[in-house]
């Protein structure tokens, strides 16, 4: 009884963790990954951020 209970608690936990690891390393397993372009990685740079740096840097100089 106790062994079955433990199995019911532990097996799904370990099984789902194992599935997660398979997904996490799927690119290593297949050796392929999505093509990531600079358009996809493009971050939004705030103009204020640049202007803020200008003021700081200008002051230091």
């Amino acid at each position: 009884m106790a062994a079955l209970l433990w199995a019911f608690i532990i097996v799904p936990f370990v099984g789902i963790l194992a599935l997660t690891l398979v997904f996490a390393f799927w690119d290593k397993i297949t050796g392929k990954e999505y093509v990531i372009t600079d358009e996809i990685l493009k971050h939004e740079v705030a103009p204020e951020e640049i202007l803020g740096r200008k003021e700081t840097s200008g002051g230091e100089k």
Binding site: I9, P12, F13, L17, A24, I36, E44, I50
Partner: protein
């Protein structure tokens, strides 16, 4: 009011305000406010997605269910964690790549751009669904958390709710997505500590697990049965009722928006999915263990099973530590409410006001409007939560299920199947919403599974059937193929290095231009 219990809670609120203040300096643009400028750290993305997902249900509702039903509650853990894995494996990376390419801030933004929908129907229907359901949800979730705090500490319910709202509003108003995500990280850490420590303390208090199983067996042997002592169709309904959660995750806008904000989509696979799934597994199994330990400790004798977490904390821990447990209950609630507040605001401001009603709004006013929108949504949700209106009650009851039954299949199909068409998406969204709400309203539960479980598959079938009868524009087809291409890992890594180096150089050029100017 017990100050030993309340002080850690006040300390927790102060930390949130500090994060909000720090975020104020970072959030300077509209894009930063709604999607963290698409440069959110993977740790914040992973933990924020999970903390957002688990409301106070994790620290109050789930332990309460385990307290009543015993070990069979593990099925909830299995369903929820598999649903979370479905999000990470089936949606996260592809949604980030697609929305990055299309420059979408919100789910309605994405649907409109993905399907090249010039009728605006997809944007209108999806943003109304998000706006109504999320706004109603905020009030209900916040109310639940404040009630738990009142019961545990004696703080007046109304003032607990007001203070909680003001703090959430402060950091969301100041720091938008960035503040919400990083406060979620703090809240996720607090929640996981409590959900690990509390069951361990309980097990030591009851000597060992054997003692706990023995006490539960004496209380009610069916609590030690994985199907609650049922058999046949009743057992199947028991399992399905819990397991059905699996399909609910890809359709929750406040959760999946997290994936859209991460700086590098590759990190969603690793380490993102590992961090997120480890947190979820430990949290869910910890919450179930906490309920079972509570049932053994109190011999099933608690007036309100949902108070098992605070009551066990007060019984087993010194009061200041018990106060930390109560802070964790609020953390679970607040980490959901802040994200819902932001996603409802984005539906109102970006999807309805800016894109549909007044596209001529000046760029420099957008951030101000977004912040004002946060206040408006918070005020409406507070009023809705306190009003006790029947409409709000139904909206809350349908919110999770209807999002699961409509956005879930639609988003999955949108990122995996290039042949999905605008007509299919519109039909799925509208028929799925009406069908799920009708089933929920009439209490129809095929095989004991919730309505959204059935409608998840019906909506998917509608989208596929209508798409097969119509033809996507050639542009969508080409775009899809171009976005989801694969390449060998080594090639991809060297290219990313080059992109990052180039981005840095371009930034330096722009910066030096400003400095010289």
């Amino acid at each position: 009011m017990n100050w030993e219990l309340v002080t850690p809670f006040v300390g927790y609120l102060i930390v949130l305000m500090i994060i909000g203040t720090l975020a104020l300096g970072k959030t300077k643009t509209y894009g930063m406010f709604f999607i963290a400028g698409r440069k959110l750290h993977i740790l914040a993305t992973a933990l924020s997605a999970q903390a957002t997902d688990m409301s106070a249900w994790l620290t109050i509702g789930l332990p309460g269910q385990a307290f009543l039903n015993g070990i069979g509650t593990i099925w909830v853990g299995i369903g929820c964690s598999l649903g979370t894995l479905l999000n990470w494996s089936g949606l996260a990376q592809r949604l980030r790549i697609y929305t990055g390419k299309l420059g979408s801030f919100t789910i309605p933004d994405f649907l409109e751009s993905r399907y090249k929908d010039d009728t605006r129907i997809l944007r209108l229907v999806s943003s109304i669904l998000i706006l109504v359901f999320m706004t109603a949800f905020i009030g209900a979730v916040a109310k639940g958390g404040a009630k738990a705090v009142e019961a545990a500490t004696g703080i007046d319910f109304f003032w607990a709710l007001v203070v909680t709202y003001l703090i959430i509003l402060f950091y969301t108003f100041a720091g938008g997505f960035w503040a919400v995500a990083w406060t979620d990280v703090f809240q996720a850490i607090l929640m996981i500590i409590i959900l690990v420590v509390m069951p361990i303390v309980g097990i030591f208090a009851l000597r060992d697990m054997g003692g706990i199983f023995h006490a539960i067996n004496q209380l009610d042997p069916s609590m030690l049965d994985p199907v609650g002592g049922l058999s046949g169709v009743a057992a199947l309904s028991f399992v399905l009722g819990y397991f059905a959660w699996i399909v609910g995750y890809p359709g929750q806008p406040h959760i999946v928006t997290r994936f859209m904000a991460v700086e590098d989509p590759r990190k969603l696979r690793r380490p993102g999915s590992i961090i997120g799934m480890l947190w979820v597994l430990i949290a869910l199994w910890g919450a179930v263990a906490l309920g079972i330990v509570g049932a053994a400790y109190f011999h099933g004798g608690l007036a309100d099973p949902e108070m098992v977490t605070p009551e066990l904390a007060k019984a087993l821990l010194p009061l200041p530590l018990a106060g930390c447990v109560i802070a964790a209950i609020m953390a679970a609630m607040m980490s959901t409410v802040d994200s819902q507040l932001l996603v409802a605001t984005s539906a109102m401001v970006q999807d309805i006001l800016v894109k549909l009603i007044k596209p001529t709004i000046k760029q420099e006013n957008l951030l101000k409007i977004a912040r004002i929108g946060t206040i408006v949504i918070a005020a409406i949700s507070f009023y809705a939560g306190m009003s006790g209106s029947k409409f709000v009650y139904w909206a809350v009851s349908f919110a999770w299920g209807c999002s699961a039954a409509t956005f879930g299949p639609l988003l999955l199909i949108s990122v995996w199947w290039k042949k999905a068409t605008k007509a299919g998406a519109i039909a799925g969204l509208i028929i799925g919403a009406i069908g799920d709400i009708s089933f929920e309203y009439m209490g129809i539960k095929p095989l004991g599974a919730p309505a959204y479980f059935t409608w998840f598959f019906i909506t998917a079938a509608i989208i596929i059937a209508v798409s097969l009868l119509t033809k996507p524009p050639e542009k969508v087809d080409r775009e899809f193929e171009e976005i989801f291409r694969f390449e060998p890992i080594a090639e991809s890594e060297s290219k990313i290095q080059k992109i990052k180096a180039r981005a840095k150089t371009e930034f330096d050029v722009v910066e030096s231009f400003y400095i010289k100017a």
